[in-house]
């Protein structure tokens, strides 16, 4: 009885900690993005609120909370209110299956640093990442506005063109690790991270997750140059904030996932595992921001072309080659 209550307490702490860390990190990622983009453009970025502008996320939060919560005329009220949550919650739920450190020993208990070591962790991720697009589609539909609707449609079209290549690029990983569980995948990379065996899959996955978190050059659903703000045009205040934070949670989570699947997860010399995991994850976040500062937005048909005619065949080819190679090895 006591053991299970301790387990539950540890579990709750873990979940609470993850929520706290991820939400804080997402807020600071917004800040980091603004600073880094500013540096790219030879500016300084927000540096007024607090030392080095570090309290800027707090100021943004206050601003978002005090803004008017606007509901467009003839919008579908419930769907409109539901959509931001649909965008943010699946993103943070994916983190449940990502192992972010080596198992710890607390008071005689072995605590695996992962919320749920599902044996189908990878499929869980693929399922949730597809659900996240409902936030975009429903938000775009419920707003009753052309721009939002076009953004939502683009979000869906984008989903079907990258989801396939993303899933296929992960098949070789499963073949190498012989498991769908992310913990097993990390353990299989104790020696050599999978990026060494699977550079092509890594690149395909990287491109796909960029499309997944709707970042430049694949930010078609919100394309502010063409669609005002795309699917969240009509959103204001904290509901917009939820979409926004969801995007940044997505960056962290997908960065963590790429780390787990290709860069050996928390494995690394010298530094503690959690630090290694955070470093690798944040370097992905940095790369996304850097990419935003560098690349222009792709056209709609170019994304389709890239997804269907380049990435998917390449991913299929990669699966065949990996299978052949594994067969030769045994």
């Amino acid at each position: 009885m006591t053991t299970s209550s301790v387990d539950i307490a540890l579990f709750a702490t873990k979940i609470g900690l993850i929520f706290f860390v991820i939400l804080t990190l997402a807020a600071y990622l917004v800040f980091a993005e603004r600073r880094i983009l500013a540096w790219v453009q030879d500016r300084k970025g927000p540096n007024r609120v607090g030392p080095f502008g570090l309290l800027q996320p707090l100021a943004d939060l206050i601003k978002l909370l005090t803004k008017e919560d606007f509901l467009p005329a003839a919008a579908d009220k419930w769907l409109f209110y539901l959509a931001p949550a649909m965008a943010a919650i699946p993103a943070i739920m994916i983190f449940a299956v990502i192992p972010f450190g080596a198992p710890l020993n607390v008071a005689g208990h072995t605590v695996p640093l992962v919320v749920a070591d599902l044996n189908i962790g990878l499929l869980f991720f693929l399922a949730l990442s597809s659900i996240a697009v409902y936030g975009v589609a429903i938000g775009g539909w419920a707003s009753n506005s052309k721009y939002a609707l076009l953004g939502g449609i683009r979000g869906l079209a984008q989903l079907i063109s990258y989801e396939l290549s993303m899933g296929l690029s992960l098949v070789p990983i499963v073949m190498l690790a012989r498991s769908f569980s992310l913990t097993d995948i990390v353990n299989a990379q104790a020696g050599v991270p999978f990026i060494v065996y699977q550079p092509l899959a890594f690149i395909i996955f990287l491109i796909s997750i960029t499309a997944e978190c709707k970042r430049i050059p694949f930010d078609l659903p919100e394309a502010e140059g063409e669609l005002v703000a795309g699917f969240h045009t009509e959103y204001s205040g904290m509901r917009f904030g939820l979409f926004f934070v969801g995007e940044y949670i997505n960056i962290i989570v997908l960065g963590g996932l790429a780390t787990t699947l290709f860069l050996g997860g928390w494995h690394g010399p010298l530094l503690p595992p959690v630090v290694w995991f955070s470093l690798k994850t944040l370097s992905f976040a940095f790369f996304f921001i850097w990419m935003r500062g560098t690349l222009p937005r792709l056209r709609y048909d170019q994304l389709m072309h890239l997804g269907w005619k380049v990435l998917t065949p390449l991913a299929l080819l990669n699966i065949l080659i990996t299978a052949w190679w594994l067969m030769l090895r045994t």
């Binding site: 880094i36 500013a38 500016r43 990419m291 500062g293 690349l295």
Partner: protein, 189 residues
């Protein structure tokens, strides 16, 4: 035919390669700029010194003798593209004209400098003082008292009445580019 095909293939290959190098080059450029010093001037703490001919707050100047230069000729207000100068002309006992009141609405002024160019007496001039923000828009209505300064501004030796305004502030023939009046009675052939 075969050659053409392989040529085409090579072209495609080349373009993929150049695409990749171009993208990598772009990443390099942004990285370089990330490490470069920002050009931002932190405004309220750091201020840049504008050039002397910078066009900002407008003043009305006086001539070297201390008299008001403005003769209320309305040329500036006619030149102003946004019609933000208004005034009322008046005349002194000695015939010297002046503006009874003179008003510039700085909330409309676009600081184009056309008024200063139009002014025949060098009365209205632009200064580099660009910090004229006000909380209340009515505070941006500058009256003559706010505009008039105790100096000559840019042309510190220029006195309009020494060149023109014949017979107004000095006797006829006393001006700088003026010859003595001719005595018609002594002007005999």
């Amino acid at each position: 035919m075969g050659i053409v095909l392989s040529d085409k293939k090579e072209m495609e290959h080349m373009s993929l390669l150049s695409d990749i190098t171009a993208i990598a080059g772009g990443f390099g450029v942004t990285l370089r700029h990330m490490l470069r010093r920002p050009v931002t001037i932190q405004y309220p703490e750091e201020k840049r010194t504008p050039y002397p001919r910078f066009r900002a707050r407008i003043v009305l100047t006086r001539d070297p003798d201390g008299g008001e230069r403005c003769v209320a000729c309305y040329l500036c207000s006619a030149a102003c593209p946004v019609d933000c100068i208004s005034m009322q002309s008046a005349e002194q006992e000695d015939g010297r004209r002046y503006a009874a009141w003179f008003r510039i609405n700085f909330s409309r002024c676009i600081f184009c400098g056309l008024c200063a160019e139009a002014c025949p007496t060098m009365a209205i001039q632009m200064t580099p003082d660009y910090e004229i923000c006000k909380r209340d828009i009515m505070d941006l209505l500058y009256e003559k008292e706010d505009l008039l300064i105790d100096g000559c501004g840019k042309d510190d030796s220029y006195n309009f009445y020494r060149h023109a305004g014949i017979g107004v502030t000095q006797l006829r023939g006393e001006g700088l580019e003026e010859t003595k009046p001719v005595d018609v009675r002594s002007l005999m052939p």
